[in-house]
């Protein structure tokens, strides 16, 4: 089970260092400790750049990866409906496992005994596990965060329990992923006030505990929040600790797109070049393109597989809702440009008659959607390496089934409709090639001084002013 410790006991001491460091914030000391004890990171080797975007090689114990890359989420040690051989075939490089779920069933001790998660699931490539904190806080009643760690009620018997940063690392080490995450003080992005600052400093202290405890950390990551001022301190603090990699999190929870971009841009600007940058919970293709333009390398999200189970396919124009009645007689493949087994063999009409009624429908759509995401990753990597700017195909899909671009209102959009957060490029007029950061899959990101802008229909927009979406 998870971090088995009752709340009344003292924080358990790390194995080799009996005294945890005092909870005082001391960057310099921590930095020195970090330098000495954290294992040399595999690091990234940059293979190509375009403005802020990077294409890199990330060397991990089980696999050498090419970034930018998308990681499918295999919550309980499996990607729903797909075998590991299919995942290899479509070019999946890293899979994410959820520490909370795996620690519950079958338990990290069992996984360890059977040789680690790689052996358990028979996945030869890379794995990443999260710290477990986020899921606990979002899934469990009465989960709370104290200086010691995350206190929660055991889902098994209701007893009060505690997950400490040290224990989270130990659980993840038992699972044996290539990349593991340090427990962070998880804060809802909508919260304001001193709690943010508290969370930030506590996260840094927890990192120190992980480092000082000499847990055999392969890679340590930090999580972040959306508030810029505090973030600067946090980023500086984490950079000084010279961690093997950095994650930007707390962004998948309902903030509007304007904030989202700003945070990612500011973080990537402040993070070291030679370490991987992982934006957590990002899965909409457009979001991935934008973040890659801003210098991020890795992404994960349940979106592609989850939306497949609801009968929705990802296509370059947006999404295709196979459940829709008009699909019943459409003899075209889901995406004529897609090379996957599903698009090469099946029509929209046949998939339509399967979806929501037969498990095979979900399987085929999951396969296609992940194929799409893997191809997106490869295209991003190669287009940056080649320095290509494939000027966007002017895709305006009017078949009624792609998500239509909707006019943005100034309030929060929420993340359920990402396509409505961006513009599509209809024409590029009066824009110099050097203004283009990257142009992939129909979206061009342009470089404006100090900010990124996405062009709307004949409109140049500076993101500091907000932007409007051209109607389709």
């Amino acid at each position: 089970m998870l971090g088995i410790e009752s709340v009344t006991a003292e924080t358990s001491a790390p194995l080799t260092n009996p005294k945890p460091p005092p909870p005082k914030f001391n960057l310099r000391l921590a930095a020195a400790a970090a330098g000495a004890k954290v294992q040399a990171a595999a690091g990234v080797k940059i293979l190509g750049r375009f403005n802020r975007a990077r294409a890199a090689q990330l060397t991990l114990p089980h696999f050498v990866c090419q970034t930018p890359l998308f990681m499918p989420v295999g919550t309980q040690g499996t990607i729903k409906g797909l075998t590991t051989s299919q995942l290899e075939e479509i070019g999946c490089q890293i899979i994410l496992g959820n520490t909370y779920h795996l620690a519950l069933r079958p338990t990290s001790e069992l996984i360890d005994e059977l040789g680690g998660l790689h052996n358990f699931m028979n996945w030869p490539r890379a794995l990443l596990t999260d710290s477990g904190g986020f899921q606990m806080v979002s899934l469990l009643h009465l989960a709370d965060i104290t200086e010691k760690g995350v206190t929660f009620q055991s889902p098994v018997d209701g007893k009060p329990m505690l997950l400490t940063p040290e224990e989270s690392i130990q659980i993840q080490n038992r699972i044996g992923a290539d990349i593991i995450m340090a427990l962070d003080d998880v804060v809802k992005t909508t919260i304001t006030g001193p709690r943010i600052e508290e969370a930030m400093y506590r996260t840094l202290r927890w990192i120190d505990r992980c480092i000082a405890g000499n847990c055999p950390v392969t890679h340590t990551w930090k999580l972040d929040d959306t508030y810029l001022l505090v973030k600067d301190i946090c980023v500086k603090g984490l950079v000084e600790r010279d961690l093997p990699g950095y994650a930007i999190g707390g962004l998948a929870g309902g903030e509007d797109k304007d904030s989202f971009w700003r945070v990612v841009a500011q973080c990537t600007a402040a993070l070291p070049e030679d370490k991987p940058r992982y934006v957590m919970g990002v899965g909409y293709p457009l979001d991935i393109v934008v973040c890659s333009a801003l210098g991020a390398d890795m992404y994960d999200c349940v979106y592609p597989t989850r939306t497949a189970r609801f009968g929705t396919a990802l296509i370059p124009e947006g999404v295709l809702k196979l459940k829709h009645q008009a699909m019943a007689n459409d003899t075209r493949p889901i995406d004529p440009t897609c090379e996957c087994m599903v698009c090469k063999n099946y029509s929209r009409a046949y998939i339509h008659c399967l979806v929501t009624k037969d498990a095979m429908g979900s399987q085929l759509l999951s396969y296609h959607n992940l194929f799409y995401m893997m191809k997106l990753s490869r295209d991003l990597h190669s287009s940056i390496v080649d320095g290509r700017f494939p000027h966007s195909r002017m895709e305006m899909s009017h078949n009624g089934f792609a998500m239509l671009w909707r006019k943005k209102n100034k309030t929060n959009l929420g993340t359920s409709n990402s396509e409505a957060g961006y513009c599509k490029i209809d024409t590029i007029r009066g824009v110099k090639e050097s203004d283009v950061i990257t142009s992939v899959n129909g979206v061009s990101i342009f470089n404006e001084p100090e900010a990124c802008a996405v062009l709307g229909k004949d409109r140049r927009v500076n993101w500091n002013e907000g932007f409007e979406i051209g109607s389709s």
Binding site: K80, T83, L354, M360, Q363
Partner: protein, 411 residues
Amino acid sequence: MKFTVKAWSKGGGRAGLLQVGSCSIETPALLLNTRKGLPAFISPDLLSSLPTPDSRLLQFSPLHFSEGISLKTISELGGLHQMLGLHEHVFAAVPRDSTISLPDYQSSNKMGASFETPCGRLLIKPLQYMEMISSMKPNMWATLADEVPAWVSEKRNKASVDRTTGGAVFGSIVGGSKIEERKRCAKEVAERNVSGFCLGGFGLGESMDEHPSLLGAITEILPEDKPRQICGLGLPEEVLQGVAAGIDLFDSTYIYHLTLGGFALTFPLEEIRRHGYGDQLSDTGRDGSKINLKATIYRKDTSPILEGCKCYTCQNHTKAYINHLLNVHEMLAQILLEMYVPSFLPIAVALFPGLVILTRNSCHFSSHNTHHYLGFFRVIREAIKGGTFEEFRQNFVETRRDHILAAALSA
């Protein structure tokens, strides 16, 4: 389509060769059950990991497509083979299968046959059925089995139908459990210009003891040089009954139901053949008690479901992993099982009811079970060719009886 009998067994069973489409399939053979043309859980790219050409014979019911896709669209797509991307496979159409379209004989009348489907009760008229067959273009298809005399007397319809569809026609023989009716129906259908025969009306709750006499009465009348298909016989003893009576093709949803119910088989087919069942029992010292893959004893078992099994599941995954998938209700368990169960269930259930592994939502089982069930049929064929079928069958059934008794006594 071409069918030749290659070997006989004393009791009336036969081994043959069925050439249809681009496949040469040895009989007795199993038709894999599908939903809308594809297996319930094995996706088409994984289907190719099953043994060929055994796994190329697929059953489907045209009624699966009653809603969701129009016949016009199916025709536009070019028929089943094109629509499903399975160009090398052989499709056999049967109006009924007990997962989706159950024949409802009470409501059938001279107008057509009635079926209970998820879309409600459908009354399918012969003409409608023919339209379905024409647009789907299966390699083989069974005629709509309702009030046979009404259909059979339509000589003109028959002839015109043969011309339009191009697929091999199997005349349906019904008649319920009355031997005389069955014989009458069989006589009439035997005179028709059909390529084979499809025995319907089995597996609908009748007792297994009724089978031998019914089956024998029917097959006695049928010409020997045309293949006989039967729907609804799935249990291993039932399959053996069918083989003994001279049936060549078996279609049942047993595997599907077993996969759903979570069964997986581990009985090694090779040893059955070599040592016989009695030996098998004493060699391994198994007591036939149930193996439940969800049980905690498998939590750390890093062996495959069956040592030496060549299916995808056994080559890649362990009992421990499947145990975990079942416990967390993941779809992958069923996929892996479906490829495994069907090939195995008949033999194992008959032989060792205790070896049946009860699990729910067993995705991975899918691939293992089919693999094994296909193996069972292979063993049957070899027994016929080797002249040992009767012995094989007797051993099999007796050992199963002993086991049931033993299990009952120890329970």
